[in-house]
């Protein structure tokens, strides 16, 4: 398919016919009996394969397919506190996309992502390029240190930052106090998204850096040599050679980050008790779905919100992959 698209039908046709012919040739040439024997071996292989994936298949069906199907079924019903519940087709979905709580949450995570993702991936890329270039002990220490936050469970990390942000105990506030700049409320309305972004960046930069670093390590060294001979400096090599060559890894990290951002939940959930007048129950779409189900007992609507969010994530990532198809290697 990719060949067809790139070279056009006229040039692509001959090799593809050659390939099919080549494949078919021994089949037609061989006797009927031999072909049957091969087929039965094939079915036996298939049966064996099916048997081997059964444990996975069962778990997959029980813990992914069945809950999804149940949630979807829930989302097609409407239940109210007084009216009881009834089948309502897509009424919940219709409500979702006109629900200001949901749309404002989506808008919030999109705004959050527009700022936080470039900052984080920029830092990750910079870090990866540096540790790829410098191969001293210090680079190893640097790599470990940046990666360490990823090993801290997200809940613990958020709790820890909650203390650091504290207006009474937090170092930031002591610092601003000492400088005489007055009270900085890191858990207040104006700075909350920044504070959350900081936590996420702290947690995930190292992880993304390692992914990019691994991609850089996989590049052939001769290219650098050639670049050097052509007179490229380190920065030029990084910008013109390394970054374009790891673009598929960058697309991958960006993709995962976008999905993670749209599903933003843990950090706001953990900070919610400390600042519940700022982190409202509808702060992010996922938090809203959680609160609908487990605080307001609106399981049906919550299921619809979850599927709608899933749709937003799916469309968002598809659009992104489509836009980045040339860079991603997923043509």
């Amino acid at each position: 398919m990719s060949l067809l698209r790139q070279q056009g039908p006229a040039t692509a046709a001959p090799p593809s016919t050659v390939r099919t012919k080549g494949l078919r040739a021994p089949m037609t040439g061989s006797g009927a009996g031999r072909r049957n024997g091969r087929q039965s071996a094939h079915t036996r292989h298939q049966a064996m394969g099916l048997l081997l994936i059964t444990p996975f298949g069962l778990l997959f069906a029980a813990f992914l397919v069945a809950p999804l199907a149940y949630a979807f079924w829930l989302s097609l019903r409407t239940s109210t506190l007084v009216g009881g519940d009834h089948f309502s087709w897509f009424a919940n979905y219709k409500q979702t996309f006109t629900d200001p709580h949901f749309t404002s949450g989506v808008r919030r995570v999109v705004v959050f992502g527009l700022v936080q993702i470039p900052v984080m991936l920029g830092l990750a890329l910079l870090g990866a390029l540096i540790i790829d270039e410098v191969s001293s002990k210090l680079a190893k220490v640097f790599r470990m240190t940046l990666f360490m936050p990823y090993a801290v469970p997200a809940v613990i990390g958020a709790l820890m930052w909650g203390f650091l942000y504290s207006p009474t105990f937090g170092p930031v506030n002591s610092l601003s106090h000492a400088l005489g700049t007055g009270k900085v409320d890191l858990l207040g309305h104006s700075l909350m998204l920044t504070s959350l972004g900081n936590i996420v960046t702290w947690q995930w930069t190292g992880y993304n850096m390692i992914v990019l670093y691994a991609a850089l390590q996989g590049l052939p060294r001769e290219v650098y040599e050639a670049a050097k001979l052509d007179g490229a400096g380190q920065i030029q090599t990084a910008v013109r050679i390394k970054i374009p060559m790891i673009s598929s890894a960058m697309v991958l990290t960006l993709m995962f980050t976008i999905i993670g951002t749209l599903q933003f939940f843990t950090e706001p959930r953990v900070l919610e008790p400390t600042a519940s007048s700022v982190i409202t129950p509808d702060y992010t779409p996922n938090l809203y779905a959680y609160n609908l189900a487990f605080q307001y007992s609106e399981f049906n609507y919550s299921a619809a919100i979850s599927f709608s969010l899933g749709a937003v994530v799916f469309i968002g990532s598809y659009l992104f992959l489509f836009a980045a198809r040339k860079r991603s290697g997923l043509k």
Binding site: T80, L81, V82, G83, F163, S166, P167, T168, F169, G188, H189, S190, P273, T274, A275, S276, S277, V278, T280, P281, N291, F294, Q295, Y296, S297, F299
Partner: protein, 451 residues
Amino acid sequence: MSSTRRPTSRSVRRTAVAATSAALAGVLLAACGSGGGSGSGTTGSGPVHIKVWAWYPQFKQVVAEFNKTHKDVQVDWVQAGVGQDEYTKLKTALKAGQGAPDVVMLEFQELPTIQLTKGLLDMGKYGANADKGNYVDWAWKQASDGEHVYAIPVDGGPMAMMYRADLFKKYNLKVPTTWAEYKEEAAKLHKADPNAYMTDFGSDETAAGWRQGLTWQAGSRPYTYSASKLPDIGVKLNDDNAKKVYEYWGDLVKNKLVDTQSYATTDFYNGLSTGKYATYIAAGWGPGYLSSVAKKTAGKWRVAPLPQWTAGGNDQGDWGGSSFSVTSQTQHPKEATEVARELFGTSDAAWKIGIDQAYLFPLATPTLNSEYFKDKKYDFFGGQQINKVFVPAANGIGAFDWSPFQDFAYNTDTSEVGKALQGQTAWSAVNDNVQDQITSYAAKQGFKVSK
């Protein structure tokens, strides 16, 4: 050496394998066995085990006392989280159709919400109406609906003002008896020490009940609701009394006379124990709470009645307080009702633990009116007989209805208060906005709303 060690390690491994598989089998069996209800009962002879979720302080001793005095029924206690954490688990278990305990501790405001989802057993069918005369009238009314009894009251939260006597003396403050005086003293204090505040305005969700209690005192009765009159509900969150309260606190916040830290945070506890807050507007369970989060300030606090809106008035409000309900998933309704009625009930032994160690405010009239409770001196309050303040406060509390969507109401209120704090909306608009959102929510949920 090595030859003797080898069999040992192998047998250890074997035992470990056996233990693991036994544990796994146990889990599987338990999972199969608990199909309906809590699965905590036994079929043959022996006592019936009733699973209880509660978070009362020092509750272990109360349970031990119950188990000691009862032969046929035994209590298995689980601490399943405080307040909202427990309710989340309970609601999930009720929805799932299994996993709920037999008896559960619920705050009064949560009762209609859980009752509406058919999560509570009507204990009236199992003789609970006999207890009616044992409890304070307003509490019994909140726990029941006519002859239907959905909860047995335990402790209450009549509101009062706790204050730091040492700080009041240091800054020469007068103990305020009206809210106007309270504001004057707040200004005086903040002027004398810019780092000190008269109190902390509860702006978060855990303080939603605090704000409700204050509007309760001012005479606001936001809901008219009875499960037997469904789908009717009256919602009036924006009457003049409620507005008066929000504008008053909004004014204090704007003038920076009070702090706006979330309740139930370490920053808040720190403020209580370092003298950042000179008063703490709290409830009947407050002494226990305060003495555990601000231990080092023992002896410095005193209790005074809640400031009044009109001089010489006697208007009171309530914040929190709790009860025992039996869930609809129980397989032993009779025994579970017995547990709910008798864990505290009017048991002197249980209440001695409740009063002396957990600092609970009893809603059982024999205990509440006992000389022991009324005259008890509290060391944390410098030997003050604080119940001489709390008991009259409890007697001044009138009837009050909660909505069957109280979590939504509290969250909406918290969000709107947050907007006002940020300056996005005027404080005078908070109540109207809350009213709009809650009435439209209620209508959507199928209620017939009268405003």
